[in-house]
Symmetry: C2
């Protein structure tokens, strides 16, 4: 797995159970996964020599993030090592303009969108879809970075003064007044076997996922089925192998695709404790062309809340209280140094009472980060 | 954790979630845990220099087996590093004569027993309790090694010709005609918090645990309560910190203590997939003096079956079939080379129908080991 963040760290837990050799390419020996994975190679994901040295001896290379340049992945393929998802599929997760184009061509519901090269092109788009609208860089953004909600053409012009990453363009999109944000996750293997997890409700705060509820509360069965079918269709059409997360806006008229991620995703962390097979295990099974595990939930409701870096420099000072308060709380810490707003870990609770689970999970996260102290 | 076997390997999975630094002392870099734990130190558990070098910088030292000599543990304590369970407590897991004595003194139900120094002492004991009877070495045995069922005094004499490990004595015990074997597991922290897992039924084949069913089928609630209370009392009286497994014979007259293990135990592997908190996580929480997690089962029934090395030199050849047949099967492989009878892994299934779970788990284990091929 290229990338040594928490996704690789949690994938290691699944690899241990499956008895699979698991090697990580981490940017430093202190990264989240590098701390725990025995077979860690230190190197940058955009350094061809480092990636090739890492890949030699692997059966399959997969990812903890989407940032590996396509040219490097082609060199990995040239070594005779499988890359899953393939560079062709991954392209649609790396480039939002390509993703919008592909989804539009396959008839998937998406917000109105256009590639805009200048503020003078952005303005008529904004007038047509209505303000505020959204401006996004097509490449290089994550966790809300590179996404801007602009209220008028002057603000659009200011945003578009920012430099773009190499190969990136500006994407203008209608701002969607959603009922809720959803995520539909599926796993797909090279031979086309696929499983679909329950559709979950996600809450983003400042562009970062902060809460996931599975299954999405109040979602009509037909909308849930529509979302799952859509995710399976996208997976198949784009040739995705591994986990695919389709982030969706749920509106009065149905669902619209917001983003795609071709790897384990924050919206699926709940599956470690709340599903028969975790997204990390199914990602491994899929990229290794093994039969997939059941995605069934193990409880009526599961709530996952992210622990973001806050005022407490040391999460462990709050650890005792949080574990003592709720012996059914599942704590997952990533071993990362605390920086405000940085994902440090997550908590998960499963059970029959959704209001109680929401209260408990948020209390634990807030206590760990110093938002509450009792 | 001293010892690099599968118990340390699975404890690592729990340490990753808790965000705890986890170091292993493994006998070789290819041992089960050494393959996956980033912070592995290679050295022998009975080499004082290796153990002390390993222990330096640890907050707490704990165990994947009971074989570390007491003198070495004393030196670890002298470094100022906590040893949990303590050498005093661990003594009762290392020495079965000391264990029998302590249990007898506290009034715990045990089979009739005696230390016998010669065949001429063993014979009258056998005459008194009835043949067959059991001869055991007090030290150095595990997985049925060092335990002999003898039918008469001639056989007893032959067994007692075997050399004893250093410090060991022969223990004679009545052979107990049990209804079933049980295991009662508890976790206890230094400040005395304890949790008790459901009492499970275990099946040993040639002295090796092969099947665990949780909760123990048909066990009357009062016998289950008696077993749990007994395990908690032993834990408290012997000052155990961490996981304690009390292996029991269930007879028409109640329960009798067979063995003790002061670490995660094969009879608790089902807790990874079948309980709110696994035995590995609770062992870590206990030895680190953290609040303990809930031991509640997550399904009506959970069945764990060990995968022992068989005729297939490569377990992975059967892997595809087993995963495809049952997407709800939890597979745990230990990364060990295949030797006949060696524990290679285990499978777990959870659900409402016990007969179905037993069938599925045994089929998977039998298929993996080549006992069945369809």
């Amino acid at each position: 797995m290229i990338g040594g963040g928490q996704l690789a760290r949690m994938t290691h837990q699944a690899a241990i159970a499956l008895g699979i050799g698991f090697r990580v390419l981490a940017a430093s020996p202190t990264e989240s996964a590098a701390q725990v994975v025995a077979d860690t190679v230190v190197g940058e994901h955009d350094d061809p020599a480092a990636v090739l040295a890492f890949a030699r001896g692997c059966d399959v290379v997969t990812f903890d993030h989407e940032h590996v340049p396509r040219e490097i992945l082609q060199q990995v393929l040239d070594l005779g090592v499988a890359v899953r998802p393939s560079p062709d599929a991954l392209h649609f997760a790396q480039d939002k303009a390509a993703m919008r184009q592909a989804l539009t061509e396959m008839g998937a519901p998406v917000p109105q969108w256009a590639v805009v090269e200048s503020a003078s092109q952005a303005e008529p788009f904004g007038e047509r879809v209505g303000w505020p609208m959204v401006l996004k860089t097509s490449r290089g953004g994550y966790d809300g970075r590179g996404v801007f909600v602009v209220r008028d053409s002057a603000e659009a012009a200011r945003v578009m003064e920012r430099p773009l990453a190499a190969g990136a363009v500006w994407l203008a999109e209608e701002w969607v007044p959603f009922e809720a944000e959803l995520s539909a996750q599926v796993a797909r293997s090279p031979q086309g076997q696929a499983v679909s997890y329950p559709v979950v409700r996600t809450v983003q705060t400042n562009g970062i996922c902060t809460e996931v509820v599975s299954p999405a509360p109040g979602l009509p069965p037909e909308v849930s089925a529509q979302a799952q079918e859509l995710a399976l269709r996208i997976c198949d059409r784009l040739g995705v192998v591994g986990m695919l997360a389709v982030e969706l806006f749920w509106t009065k008229d149905g669902v619209l695709v917001n983003e795609l991620a071709m790897r384990p995703h924050n919206s699926g962390h709940w599956t470690i404790d709340g599903a028969a097979t975790s997204q990390f295990e199914n990602h491994l099974r899929a990229v290794l062309d093994l039969p997939l595990g059941a995605p069934d939930p193990v409880a009526d409701h599961t709530v996952m809340v992210n622990v973001l870096g806050g005022d407490h420099p040391d999460l462990y000072s709050a650890y005792l209280h949080v574990l003592a308060r709720n012996p059914r709380l599942h704590l997952h810490l990533y071993g990362k140094s605390v920086r405000p707003g940085r994902k440090q870990g997550h908590v998960t609770v499963c059970g029959p009472s959704l209001p109680e689970l929401l209260h408990e999970a948020h209390h634990a996260a807030d206590y760990l980060t110093g938002v509450v102290d009792e």
